[in-house]
Symmetry: D2
Subunit: 299 residues, 4 copies
């Protein structure tokens, strides 16, 4: 990690040492918010930001995200989790309660196109992307110079569909060794096996270079050009075992016209890809996303 | 009111007979959310949607909007307000608690440009704008046919700056007679006096045909053309006694280029004006807006 | 036609009595622009606006649109066409040369959703859509009141797939009787037969309520909701015999989120549909579109 | 210059050795296009792309941009310029005729905020920004490491308003030494003197961090936050001696809301600034811009 960034991270941890986040989903019913807020009150915690959503007033599903400040949070977090577990049990909740100061550890996978990787590294370096980028994995050598210049280890693992099994074994071992929480596929052009995906469920974020569900699969810009669309797009989504069918986190588009050939679509698209992926990653890092029925609620 | 719309409204009232909304702002401190949610719980009310924001974790201002369902709300609303008044007093809150089924009564003011009026009437007619449009006031006759064709009374009151006092007297009397909650200036090209504004504080919504604070005042499209901007915009804001300086509710823009003359800017702009004003009015009608220090929090 | 609009049209015709437009496509080669511009110069015509595009500098296809003023155009137009035919023959051009004052005659087809129809009528009424709306055809009665209130004939023709043949016979007869140049499918929910399409090739403009090629076919908003997209869109295209696969003229999108249910997607989408269709229709009316290999060049 | 980029540039020059561009403005009159296109035809040149615009059909100003391929252009360019000078004289044209293979030489000025500089360098490095970045000038040392890592000379010249004269003398000498065609102020936070501006008229491109004419001058994000705008923007313009009043080249905006504090506006804004400046610079580099009456025509 660069010295500059190390300082950023330390400052961030110190500033957020009492900051926590709660994510909850459960069947809707009266009394949920009261139970949660009473629990926080009993710990002297102050609710800083809270967003709630119900799929349906009657008999729907309830979702809430709360960001809070709790004095001496580090000392009290275990107790708070125990307290909350009782509420969660009563309401049959799925939930997570996280300490903001425990920064998530991230692996970036990349192939030959470096623009998304570069945007992530840049934002990380300037302190805007608050994660530990622990390593970069690639099936090409193109990104090595850039990545190593920032003091991040770069692992080249040759990959193709014939050796997928052994490639993924090496990758999974690295993810374990580096204790990784989040995997970002920043234009990594290999398909992952169901075993790989299962081991990191809801933790792999991909960028696809089209406005899904249009142009699923290979060569979306070529197909966009053939179809004569007037907008091109990019989509960031969680990876599932259905190719390009996982829960969509974010999408954006740019206007194009008849003068834009495939090469130009790729350049314009690169700019959308990098902003869409970066937004999606930041929301994930900030615990803003709940996955529900192959969709995302982004608070 | 047209028959079609009357049915819409009745259905809406019936569907929302138990629906309420709470808007609160106060100094931030622990226990606020617990106090509010306990109150709702004690009334068997279910929180359907809730959004909260604090200007600053420490010593800031706290804002919350809650939409809830309360069985037999109509019967309990008085009691709930009394209950809440105690909480409000304890935390020094500014607050409002409204019944969704009590539809707001609206007056639209317009001059010669009818596009914003037409968009509002259209949305009202199709049941998307859930307000009673009680009357339209104008200093021109242009809109009469359109307005009366929808069964809404149209009042022509000649206006200019020399007779402002007597004009406003007539207008204020009409607003009183019709028991108006919201006043929409849908391209009404007369300046209101401080007395008028004061009597309907935070209840007058204007559309200005520029992206404020650029091009405050008269002839914004002409000035945009002179300046050679590449974007034109529109701004909807609450009216205060500083011309075009009130709290901004919503803004939007459209891209233009060197080929667009003033006439074309006006046409493109008209389309932005009507969508920006309509969005702002809907948010106000839905009690989504809190005004704070000449800004808006839109939940 | 309403009196107000009739005046608009007459003023427009008078103002454009000497205005013409030339659209050309052919194999690229040196000398084309020189030949065309010399021809105009020989008629004392002044080129007002000109746009050109070549698919490829070497061996590509050349497209040009020229708008010009020619003194006594009405008297000279026949001669100019003869002159141009020689150039066209030499360069193997496809071309059209039109008089702006000969306003195109339009038929609008609609079913139960009236928002696109209403937007077109509104723009037509205010003089922004410079076409003769000669008739409206529908398989429902919903639009009759609106259409007839503007003095436009409304033809109800019951339609379903079992009686497609006889329905289209009636429709084709009407199009012939009214001497129609352009057919706008403003949310007309019936599929046209290849015979119908062929008879009005490149003259039928449809609005599809998705950002094609996503969600081709029925119920796009429902499917967009199921997929959890973060953007919804609309696409205007020329109708061919491949459903929703014709040349795209214009597309646009709006941002949505998890809170937007299908009903709300439809409302948001309606707003995009009407602006996308209106833009597409205006470009067609203004002779700005060249169709080439199932794509559009929009000048 | 990095090796990688050097190869890019050489390939670009080779590919464009016969490519030229003509920019013209003059009083509108018949025969202009014929004269120009005949001249090109006589040189066997093929018009690849052409855009034209007239301010007014009658008695307006005429603008055209033509991109063309001329066999053996390098050998014929002198002769072509002589030929065109006669036409230009006849029609009283302002014009420029450039060889695309003669790449423009650029100086970037920057202060402490590096995001715009970084975007330009990145695009330059990947071959998307086809200019020679000859040097970077700064009144701070912050950018040195980044710039020198790409093999570009970095000149630190301390600056403040008391020593403006001597600072600019050094800068002007550098611009002369490096034979600079274009100066990019990539968040350079010093005001230039009229003498400096005059010496490089229409060649200095600035990025201002607001949607001009809103928030002219210092601290635009702070003032945007105070005003409670719902959109922030950035503007790229040519520098004149009226602060932030020069011809606007490009603008763009991003949506913000009440939760975005000044720090966050700056981060969001940085992303708009870099894309707006990059687009503006590319259009200038590609000879797409004609300045006319303090506005730009961007073809």
């Amino acid at each position: 990690m660069t010295v500059y960034n190390k300082e950023n991270m330390e400052r961030f941890k110190e500033r957020n040492k009492n900051r926590g986040r709660l994510l909850v989903s459960c069947s809707d019913q009266p009394g949920i918010v009261a139970a949660i807020s009473n629990m926080f009150y009993s710990f002297d915690a102050n609710i800083i930001e809270s967003s709630q959503y119900s799929t349906n007033p009657e008999g729907g599903t309830f979702f809430i995200r709360i960001e809070f400040e709790c004095p001496s949070f580090k000392e009290k977090v275990k107790e708070m989790k125990e307290s909350f577990a009782e509420i969660a049990s009563k309401f049959s909740m799925e939930w997570s309660l996280t300490q903001v100061s425990l920064i998530k550890r991230t692996a970036i996978f990349v192939s030959k196109e470096l623009h998304c990787l570069r945007e992530l590294l840049w934002d990380w370096q300037s302190g805007d992307l608050l994660t530990d980028i622990a390593l970069v994995v690639s099936n090409h050598e193109d990104g090595r110079e850039l990545v190593e210049s920032m003091g991040i280890p770069y692992y080249y693992i040759k990959a193709n569909k014939d050796i997928r099994k052994e490639v993924e074994e090496k990758q999974l071992q690295l993810l374990k060794d580096y204790d990784i929480d989040v995997i970002i596929l920043a234009r990594y052009m290999q398909i992952l096996t169901p075993e790989f995906v299962k081991e990191h469920e809801n933790k792999i974020i991909n960028i696809h270079h089209s406005f899904l569900p249009a142009f699923i699969g290979a060569k979306p810009y070529e197909r966009a050009h053939d179809r004569g669309v007037k907008l091109i797009g990019a989509t960031s989504h969680y990876v599932t075992n259905d190719l390009d069918e996982g829960p969509i986190i974010e999408q954006d588009i740019a206007r194009v016209d008849h003068r834009d050939n495939v090469e130009r679509l790729k350049k314009l698209g690169a700019s959308i890809e990098r902003s869409v992926l970066t937004r999606a990653v930041k929301w994930h890092i900030d615990d803003r996303i709940i996955i529900y029925k192959n969709k995302t609620i982004v608070f």
